[in-house]
Amino acid sequence: MLRPPGWPHARPLFDLEGKMPKKYHVPIKAAPPRFNPVGKYATIEFREDCAGSCRECVKKKCVYGIFQENVQHMADMDEPEYLYACQSCFRCVQECTKGIFSRVINPEYRSLGDEYWQPDIIHRTWYQAHTGKIPVSGAGYRGPFSGQGFDSMWTDMSEIVRPTRDGIHGREYISTSIELSRRNARLVFGKDRSLAVDTPPIFEVPFPAVFQQPRFGVLSENVLQAAARAAYVLGTILFINPDYYSENFAPYQEGLVPCLNKKNYMDFLNQAPKIRMIELADEDGIESEIFKLRDRRPDMIVSIGVPLNAQAAARAPLLARSGVDTIHLYADDYGREQESKTPRFLKEMIREVHLNLVEHLVRNRVNLIFSGGVALAEHVAKAVICGADGVAIDIPLLIALECRLCYRCKEGMSCPVKLGNIDPEWGKQRMINLMGAWRNQLIEVMGAMGIREARRLRGEVGRSMWFEDLEKENFGPIFGERKVSSTV
């Protein structure tokens, strides 16, 4: 079985005299931010009204101690820490003897990201990249009832069925790995019970979210090194633009998937012989090129990069029959259909491609990776439920490195968090932490659903609930026909 290098394939799969199976483990380690993360709230202080030494100063009493370093910040002419660390308990506002405190939403926080990549998403991603922990909080859900795209579906749960009977301690028995390699429809055995067909190589990644080089951003060598090293350690893959490849990436090339075309791929493979998976752009005559490639390199895992547009669903069965291992479908950065005036969202597009393959009876021959707009751990689970084998993430990798999605780089301006100069080792750890947190969240959701294998989750819409269906089933008999078609 071919496994990317970080996967403990080189080590025995069993230890303790063969009794204990090795478990996949993400090496999480705190990687503090280089800059103060932009906080949501800014505390306003009308100091001219301060009573002076009233001995009840709320700054000294702050439960979170956010004003402790205040004097030091002032001395350093630095931004005060309380711009970033306020936990929103309102006690200073409500307890100050003279009432000199108020708060506003930090204007810098409002400027993070855009309509899709919202400040909250960026903030949570920073937290996960820093700590590697799942975001846990008190109080109930605080968002809209439902929304567009993935926000119009819920995952199901089971009251008593568990993938393991060990509760939280059995979570290590939940497998999140997926295959990106093609497979035989059936096995054939000889009279002596030996295998009578060649089996293609098995290429497995441990988590249904792989890495992809972002389409924009400060893509310095340090940034890409961080991504390549993180992919290597995690045992996953990084789809990379070959123009950015250099000898420095050679140690990690087993986890790299260069995005090539039929003209240049052979040259590249000569340059990087340890590459085990490549992606070729979908173009005329690609089927015959795949045939040639199979002849030369039967062990090579081949992905075809296809824009996620109106033709994608029809194209997928043809590619599946041509013997590719994986089809990588690219939505835009907001998870929308490409080349459309009324673009559909990833959720609907995944369903269309997946179901068309099912209809053509070739779904099991090929694997589907979707990229673009995957912003949260929940999107991984929901994309897989819709029918993807996995997703490729790009922008979250930049956010893990403290990117604020200010898009200054698109206009050739400087990066406020100096992404170009990061230490690749630090960046690697931030990405590992993010994936560790995402994987744990996927396990939470799978555990609740009673699903033990990520591969079993693919297309399993029965383990989800969709806004339209719930409305029709539960509100339809009461309120009749829905007159507003959009979700909110």
């Binding site: 929103s88 109080a139 199901d156 568990r162 539960n474």
Partner: protein, 516 residues
């Protein structure tokens, strides 16, 4: 059902001001240096915005949260206008931008603080009935009543009680006087004074509260008739004694905020007292297993129910489940296993700690689950034999009424109780020393910021205000009892199911983009 002319003794409402020096209001009133402390504003304001004491002549900071705002302009006691020195200014409080969220907007929080303070419906023009979530309860409205149906009845003569045991199995036919009881909050997640305050309030309201899964502190014993013992997967504090104490035992199979996951109590909150109560190690996080390891089927579940019934012959059994797609089947299974109450907890419910991914994404909102379960129980012919209780995202009196009209008998409330105690929903209950406002904390300092008596009265006040709303709804529809409202979906409309013209007749759903 109680008779028509029977007058109920309602619990006493007492003014219970905020614990904080500066309660947050919708408006700000600023007094500038021109003020000569003439006292006119204090004299004319009927809402008490301008406090003044006989023996103290200097101006005091206005009680801004009592100000009724710009609607006061038409009054002859509008202080801003009448001030001879023009020393007063009024504005919308800018801090509202930073308070609340889609489900509990700032005005809903402020409205509930006022109810908890006064025991009456807010006089300030805050929207406390609708959230900003853009769906579910926030888009459901009651149809306009026929004026001919109106009943001239005082609140004392309207029945808001709910019968918990409909099985007719010889066990007590227990009723609660309001269609709500308190959701489980454990010792560990929540301050002792808070949970005991809730129990005291439950006693005054003739309702119930639940221990949660953190054990049964002795402080509950004086109110034991109003305290549900929760049997959750961690089994903390589940003893023969605590089963015998309880009028109702609640099996918690799942919680709406984290369906499919066990209880979470992070390490910092496992203080020596909490650890002693739960017989665990100080500082070690407690993740309860999921699910019950002894339950694989409805038959196994029945074994649990029988076991509890055998120990306590007068106990009623509640089964708390989350809202998966087959929640209707689960509800019927619970009935056949012998439960008196099936309690469905929707996905937007409250919690002391839960992964954000679980809160948002797992299981269905309660608005869908109530009619689904109600319908299925009716089709199975057992709806009249079981009490259907809903929870999870039911925030205010109107949500309660809507939930009942959708098919529930009553509801369970958690977050609103906390809001009555001045929770701001900052969401930091789970970590460090816990709640900075002294509600969800067992920290040596933070866990003792409130008193049982204050907590009790604030909660009693809030439900007293809610009861006024329920009575008004029932009067309008010519109903004498809230039990008549159950399943009356004909009294509801959903804005998204109306054409534009019909929709215009109803209050639109708030749709404000928020930063959360």
């Amino acid at each position: 059902m109680k008779t028509k002319r029977e007058k109920r003794q309602l619990p006493e409402v007492k003014k219970t001001p905020s614990r904080f020096r500066h309660p947050i209001g919708k408006y700000t009133i600023k007094r500038n240096a021109r003020c000569t402390s003439c006292g006119l504003c204090a004299e004319i304001c009927p809402y008490g915005v301008h406090p003044r004491y006989d023996n103290f002549v200097k101006p005091l900071r206005p009680q801004e949260h009592k100000c009724i705002g710009f609607q006061c302009r038409s009054n002859d006691f509008f202080c801003v206008e009448r001030c001879p020195e023009q020393a007063l200014t009024m504005r919308l409080n800018p801090i509202l931008d930073t308070l609340g969220d889609y489900r509990w907007p700032a005005e809903m929080l402020i409205g509930h603080w006022e109810m908890a303070e006064t025991g009456s419906l807010p006089v300030v023009d805050v929207e406390y009935n609708l959230g900003n979530s853009g769906g579910g309860f926030d888009k459901i409205r009651f149809v306009p009543p026929d004026p001919a149906d109106y009943l001239e009845l005082p609140d004392e003569e309207i029945d808001t009680s709910v019968l918990l045991n409909k099985r007719g199995d010889g066990r007590p036919e227990r009723t609660i006087d309001i269609p709500c009881y308190g959701g489980g909050m454990s010792f560990g997640s929540t301050a002792l004074d808070v949970i005991v305050g809730r129990a005291r309030a439950a006693q005054r309201l003739n309702s119930l509260t639940s221990t949660g899964e953190g054990g049964y502190p002795d402080e509950f014993l004086p109110y034991a008739e109003h305290v549900i013992t929760q049997v959750a997967t961690g089994l903390f504090g589940v003893r023969e004694r605590t089963i015998l104490n309880a009028p109702v035992v609640e099996f918690k199979y799942a919680q709406g905020a984290k369906p499919g996951l066990g209880g979470h109590l992070l390490g910092d909150k496992v203080t020596p007292k909490v650890a002693a109560m739960r017989e665990t190690v100080v500082g070690n996080a407690l993740f309860s297993p999921f699910p019950f390891h002894s339950v694989y089927s409805v038959e196994d579940h029945k074994k649990h129910v029988d076991w509890v019934k055998e120990i306590n012959p007068r106990v009623l059994v509640s089964v708390k489940v989350s809202t998966p797609t087959d929640v209707d089947m689960v509800a019927v299974g619970s009935y056949y296993a012998g439960a008196h109450i099936v309690h469905i907890d929707g996905s937007y419910g409250g919690t002391g700690a839960a992964p954000d991914i679980a809160k948002k994404n797992i299981a269905m909102p309660i608005e869908y689950a109530i009619p689904k379960v109600h319908r299925f129980l009716s089709e199975e012919g057992v709806r009249d034999k079981i009490c259907l209780i809903a929870s999870g995202g039911i925030r205010n009196a109107m949500d309660v009424a809507k939930a009942i009209a959708l098919g529930a008998d009553g509801v369970v409330i958690g977050t609103a109780d906390m809001v009555a105690l001045e929770c701001v929903r900052c969401g930091n209950c789970e970590s460090g020393r816990g709640c900075a406002r002294g509600i969800a904390s067992t920290d040596e300092e933070l866990g003792y910021l409130t008193t049982e008596a204050w907590n009790e009265q604030r909660i009693v006040n809030m439900y007293s205000a809610w009861r006024k709303q329920w009575c008004q709804i029932l009067r309008q529809y010519g109903m004498r009892s809230i039990r008549e409202l159950t399943g009356r979906t004909d009294l509801l409309v959903h804005l998204d199911y109306l054409d534009e013209e019909a929709r215009a007749r109803y209050q639109p759903a708030p749709q404000v983009k928020m930063i959360i």
